[in-house]
Amino acid sequence: MSGTISGVNGSVITVKDYRSFVMGEMVNVGTENLIGEVIRIDIDKTLIQVFENTAGLKCGETIKPTGKPLAITLGPGIIGNIFDGILRPLKAIEDQSGIFISRGINTSSIDMDKKWFVKIMAVKGFYITEGAVIGEVSENETIIHKIMLPVGISGKIISVKDSGEYSAKDILAVIEDSSGTRHEITLAQRWSIRVPRPILARKSIHKPLITGQRVLDTMFPIAKGGAAAVPGGFGTGKTMTQHQLAKWSDADIIVYIGCGERGNEMTGALEEFSALIDPRSGRPLMERTVLIANTSNMPVAAREASIYTGITIAEYYRDMGYDVALMADSTSRWAEALRELSGRLEELPAEEGFPAYLTSRLASFYERAGCVRNLNETEGSVTIIGAVSPQGGDFSEPVTGNTKRFVKAFWALDKNLAYGRHFPAINWLTSYSEYLDDLALWYAEYVSKDFLENREQLMKILNQEAELMEIVKLIGADVLPDNQKLILEIGKLIRIGFAQQNAYHLLDTYTNFEKQFKMVETILYLYKKSKSLVDKNIPISIILQEHIFVEILSVKYNISNEEAYKIDEFKVQIDEFYIKILKEAA
């Protein structure tokens, strides 16, 4: 049974003569078997969105239902690869169609013929439940891929293979469930991208995602299992921030979705991540990374799907007990894809032409983040970091506004900081993180019990500085009293010496927690001592002549993470400087 095309409008096609499609069903369209999805069923017609270019389709061409929802094949071989929005490997597409992407390419997300060495752990005769691990595959030097019983299958192991070399086509085990039905288990399983993979329970958030970026880790942290948004106009460094996180954050696995972004950027990420060595594993970063590329000129419907494809992969690896971080760059392009499709469906628009369901779609996406207890009792997490590209850099637009409701860390990129080439251009006055309280115990145990208090002081100085800058803009800095001038100086020290971080500098690109904490401590100590000098009526001009200010400014470049203890020596220098000035004054 199949239908025929009765209308084409951009990526949306209409079928009138076949009524048995199921919502969300995957279909094959036309002679080239383009991949489509049923998105609306009306009384007299069914609408289908097509994930490939529809030019050249004709009325009367057939549409074949598949009886299955839009699903992807999950299994070993996903890590280290680059895919399109519906998980077709771009390298396989290149093999088939050359440098330009043709349509109707049918390729599996994983290599079904590749033999993997499978270490079987299941034992014949045992009862196991959905999610249980029946075997392991070394996907590469870094990642152990666990072969899990697909969701919905529980029962007795009727037969199981011995450890050995198998491909995704080989049956590894047969399970008989309580109704007597037998299920064949292979290396691969399918999952519908729009449905979250089930878990046993959510756990409370309790550890940070360590990024090595000072303005994030110290000032606006994100937790493992949390969600953050990075909004910013063009040129403010969204992609740079996302790339830094993909490179340096301490997640086990990174899923990077280039959603409607530049082709060169994806090429750059692929080259760079393949060349960079992960300091923790000593292996190329690409061995823990999955790239999904739907560049801005690829079909818009696949852009809409790419976000779901990415999060499904993240959940799949989470189910194995990994901490996964997902970067979506940019969620605005995804929202615009929704808008474009909604327009083609002639739905009534809500705010700025976006469909009314934008909010609920955003909510259900960000809700797929979390720190969880998996079906197989392991613990894993999915952290989501979504870039937002607000129109005209205006944060009051619907995508930014609605995203804000579902994330607890908000890293606002600032145009003026970017113009002055202050990167990361994260504005410390408009950004926030609600994870500080969740992480308080962790900081106390692993960094220092003073961590939060120091951070608060740091933020207080920056706030005071901002208020003073308002006055300076009107009357200049010369007329301020010395204690306020000191705030400006320390503020500058924090901005340039701490918040600003050079992604291209070998030492500066990553700062561990120890160094971050000591840097803050030193700056605050310098402030305390200088303030006590100012309080003793010693002119600020004398204090500022001291070289110590310049030295602390360049701690970030001069002291490596491993030698962070050396920062403590500055305290001695600060004490010397304090005594010296006091003596001179006397």
């Binding site: 030019a55 530049r262 082709g263 850099g393 205006d394 080439r421 010369d478």
Partner: protein, 455 residues
Amino acid sequence: MAVEYLGLAEINGSFVILEGVEGVAFEEAVTFKVGDKIKQGQVVMIYADRAVIQVFEGTEEFSLDNTNTKFLGKPMEIRLSSELLGRVFDGIGRPIDGLPPVFAERVADINGKPINPVSRVYPRDFIQTGISAIDGLTTLIRGQKLPIFTGNGLPNDKLAAQIVNQASLGEGRSEKFVIVFAAMGIKHDAAEFFKGTFEENGVMDKVVIFLNLAGDPVMERIITPKAALTVSEYLAYEKNMHVLTILTDMTAYAEALREISSAKGEIPGRKGYPGYLYSELASIYERAGIVKEGGGSHTLLPILTMPNDDITHPIPDLTGYITEGQIVLDRSLHLKGIYPPISILPSLSRLMKDGVGEGYTRGDHPDLAYQLFSSYARVNDIRALATVIGEEELSEIDKKYMKFGRAFEERFLNQGVFENRQITETLKLGWEILRELPESELDRVSDEHLRKYYS
């Protein structure tokens, strides 16, 4: 196979509707015969036996029964050949230079196909334009798409022409660019200016020109950049040439798109532009790049006019999200008599980070650029203060910044239309200007470079 139909069911603005058609494909090319005139069109929507067709040269003289419609059974195509160099075409690729049609080596769908990201080569080769503001601060890289954001009355054409004339791969390199020039909705004299410069430089035989001028049919305008870019891709990726494509003015293109969208009765997005403006612009800009096979490259330099100088307007805004940076022209600099009036703070080249520095230009280049950006950003704050309290009342250090700001604009930014500065000259100039500031203010440059170039 071509099928012909006599008569139309409906005429609506520049759209016609045919009924009772069979086997019509979405986006299929169409020709109309009205009296002795041949016009071209494209199918934009099909529904059962109805086809909605957009007519490129307008529907004047069309009636319901005098029109003969021929479906060509293929998408809009353009003939490709190396003989395209030196030729002039109209907005949809028909020769208007009095010479016969091009002998085609092959024909290609003008819509092109997306380049596979794994087939791309990340662009890293520095292009020297001889313009300090660009070479020093917003470096152009081979294979980059870098638009010029301009305003009405600003010298964007002069700047584009200067880039075309001077662009080279640095000192001692002779590889020249082939130029594809597409004009959309620009005035006749602007087109003449470009043609004049190409002729003066004796490069006419290295240029392919597509002209859709302000008075030409609006509908053709949406085809012009696609036709031109198909030629660029062919020359770059198949004939291995280094191609520099200039598209001007992208604003006229976007407006044409809006006109068509509203005629189709689509739900408008921001400022009446269709929701798919981003995708449409992307399908144009993303055609730049370098691919693995062959040694060519495709660099794209679109020019777009910011309506009311507003950089947050949807056209520059969406463009900035797709392109790899932007060069922004500024009216106040222009009024001060600075040429080129490039406002460096909002200008950016995203690929610069990988194409400058040690092994590309010179080791101190990135630091120097960051320092100039950061110091000049400070100048703007101080100027704002000076307008309130007067320049006399500024602190000593602020006065130095004011002096630095003036030197930067008058000596670094400002240069002659025919002045071709080598990159070393640009860098030297940058350091000279930084000397207006005391060493303690230079927090972006390493001690090593300070010693070597500052003191």
